[in-house]
């Protein structure tokens, strides 16, 4: 298992009268090279949950395993450097954390900080720039004269330069235009498929969940209320409504047709799945369609 949570709880300001529980008794497991989406309302505990994956927050109770690393309430800060290299964290609006004079310096900052020679770090920075879809002409530019979408790519290149095996993404497409969103999600999909990175994606975009995720965790009031494949999680309209979650749009159309009497093999979750099932039962007029 790449990632596992065993009875993990997190309480802010634990042991004080201000103590607030943010995550209670969460257990789940993600296989090697998995792609997990975490969904749930603002304030449901999603961000608290993922910040424990590289021990920015240490669990108040329970145990987290990430590949060969174990994080418990007793984990000390001295042990964390290799873990933080292993687990890359892309926060919301990561472009706010850019600070160097040039794009190359910004991307090379992390590796240099971890002891890499400057020349090697710069070479790595140029390679990462290419990975995120920006050509080498950007290397010498100031990150602050780039567009919002480009700045975000640079910030992500900086995380990738640490060569993480697990990538945590907290609403990575928020505030981007549709094309920028699409390009960003395709980039993560490629890293997942080609380099085997395990991905943990926190998102409100149900369309992205059904398109990319292999497993889905649903958080509510600090608890894990559902865990399974997208098909399992989106199977009940009633349950989703009770939990104030949106159904993917394909599933909404399919559900309305089901309400009129159409029986689906399995509820379609994407436009392609819906079109496949529609095509299979489409009335044939002299075999004009495949």
């Amino acid at each position: 298992m790449a990632i596992s949570f065993e009875h993990v709880s997190y309480t802010y300001q634990a042991g004080t009268p201000m103590a607030t529980s943010a995550v209670s008794d969460v257990s789940f497991a993600v296989p090697d090279h998995g792609y997990l989406a975490i969904i749930g309302h603002t304030g449901s505990g999603k961000s608290t949950l993922i910040q424990q994956l590289n021990a920015l927050l240490k669990p108040t109770a329970g145990e987290i395993t990430v590949d060969n690393f174990t994080i418990t309430p007793k984990t000390t800060n001295a042990d964390l450097k290799p873990l933080r290299q292993h687990v890359g964290m892309v926060f919301q609006f990561p472009e706010n954390q850019l600070f160097e004079e040039t794009v190359r310096q910004d991307i090379a900052f992390g590796p240099k900080n971890f002891g890499m020679a400057e020349a090697d770090a710069n070479k790595l920075a140029d390679a990462m720039l290419q990975t995120v879809g920006l050509d080498s002409s950007y290397a010498e530019r100031s990150p602050f004269e780039l567009s919002g979408g480009q700045m975000r790519r640079v910030a992500i290149a900086g995380v990738l330069a640490m060569r993480p095996k697990v990538l945590i993404l907290d609403e990575p497409t928020a505030g981007l235009d549709p094309q920028g969103r699409q390009e960003m999600m395709t980039l993560f999909e490629r890293l997942h498929r080609e380099q085997g990175l395990a991905i943990v994606l926190v998102t409100h975009q149900m369309e992205d969940v059904v398109q990319y995720a292999e497993q889905v965790a649903v958080m509510r009031d600090g608890r894990l209320v559902k865990f399974g494949t997208p098909a399992e999680v989106f199977s009940s309209e009633k349950w989703l409504r009770e939990n104030q979650l949106d159904m993917p749009q394909a599933a909404q159309v399919a559900q309305r047709l089901a309400n009129r009497g159409l029986a689906w093999d399995a509820l379609p979750l994407t436009a392609d799945q819906l079109a496949d099932q529609l095509a299979a039962r489409w009335p044939r007029k002299g075999g004009t369609h495949v």
Binding site: S147, P178, G180, H204, A275, R281
Partner: protein, 279 residues
């Protein structure tokens, strides 16, 4: 219909020697009471346009008239009285230490007497459903609540025109829906003209009319249904495809020819149902 805004041959360059103007000979009108959406991809010039309307960018070529007043350096404050703006990132627009102070700020700026101001601020905050948060620090609120406070500021000032500059793009889906519902409601009760600059297909759908900006130029102007029927071109213009258009493309790939007109979800469902029952 009366025009609340008229824009004629507006050209704007960020640098005087810029070979590609950010806005290039843009002309259009906004009718009083209308909801106009302005769409375009990042960098197309749509935010530059919004800022020009409010006199935030000093344009050199062209003419802007708001509520019958021609925008000049002399009239810019008169014009701003007529326009309220809400930006993408609510954190960049708060000045007050509490929600109440923040909503009062715009009125203080207009030198309204305190006795008149206080009830007006309270009423505006109540109008957007934020009364229980009146004494809270704006920074402690969620994104959706912050934009509500920004809307309360608009209600207090009661401008003729509300410009939303990607004001819902940082909100979660529920926050976005709630904010749009509130703007719709305010538009009715406060007789607002709404200009929304957006990538969000649902937000564009609410509009009476959509303007498409590309590379600083106005390239299209039509009702939402006409714009949305353009399929893949929408992506180039910086909009997402409506789901019904995505489904139509997927059906075409499978040899099924759907109607060419734009269809909302209900029409699409009806067409699918009819086609499938037609065996």
């Amino acid at each position: 219909m009366e025009n609340i805004i008229e824009v004629k041959h507006l050209t704007y360059r960020y640098q005087a020697d810029d070979p590609r103007p950010a806005l290039n000979d843009v002309s259009f009108t906004v009718h009083a009471g209308e909801w106009l959406a302005i769409v375009g991809h990042n960098g197309s010039g749509k935010s530059t346009l919004a800022k020009s309307l409010d006199g935030l960018l000093p344009f050199t070529t062209g003419e802007i008239t708001v509520g019958g007043i021609q925008l000049t350096p002399e009239t810019v404050w008169q014009v701003r009285e007529k326009i309220g703006m809400i930006f993408q990132n609510p954190d960049n627009q708060f000045v007050g230490a509490t929600v109440e102070d923040d909503v009062a700020f715009g009125l203080e700026n207009r030198q309204m007497p305190r006795t008149e101001m206080l009830p007006r601020v309270k009423a505006a905050i109540a109008r957007v459903g934020m009364s229980e948060f009146a004494q809270r620090e704006p920074s402690s609120l969620s994104g959706g609540q912050k934009q509500r406070v920004a809307l309360a500021g608009i209600v207090a000032i009661a401008p003729d025109v509300l410009i939303l500059d990607e004001a819902t793009s940082m909100l979660d889906p529920q926050g976005r829906r709630e904010m749009l519902a509130l703007v719709r409601e305010l538009r009715q009760t406060q007789h607002l003209t709404v200009i929304s600059i957006t990538h969000d297909i649902d937000e564009a759908t609410i509009a009476d009319r959509v303007l498409v900006i590309d590379d600083g130029q106005l390239v299209d102007e039509a009702a939402p249904a006409t714009i949305f029927a353009q399929g893949e071109r929408l992506v180039e213009l910086g909009l997402d495809l409506p789901f019904t258009e995505k489904l139509k493309a997927a059906l075409r790939q499978r040899g099924i020819e759907p109607p060419a007109d734009y269809q909302g979800a209900a029409e699409m469902e009806e067409w699918l149902w009819q086609s499938l029952s037609n065996t």
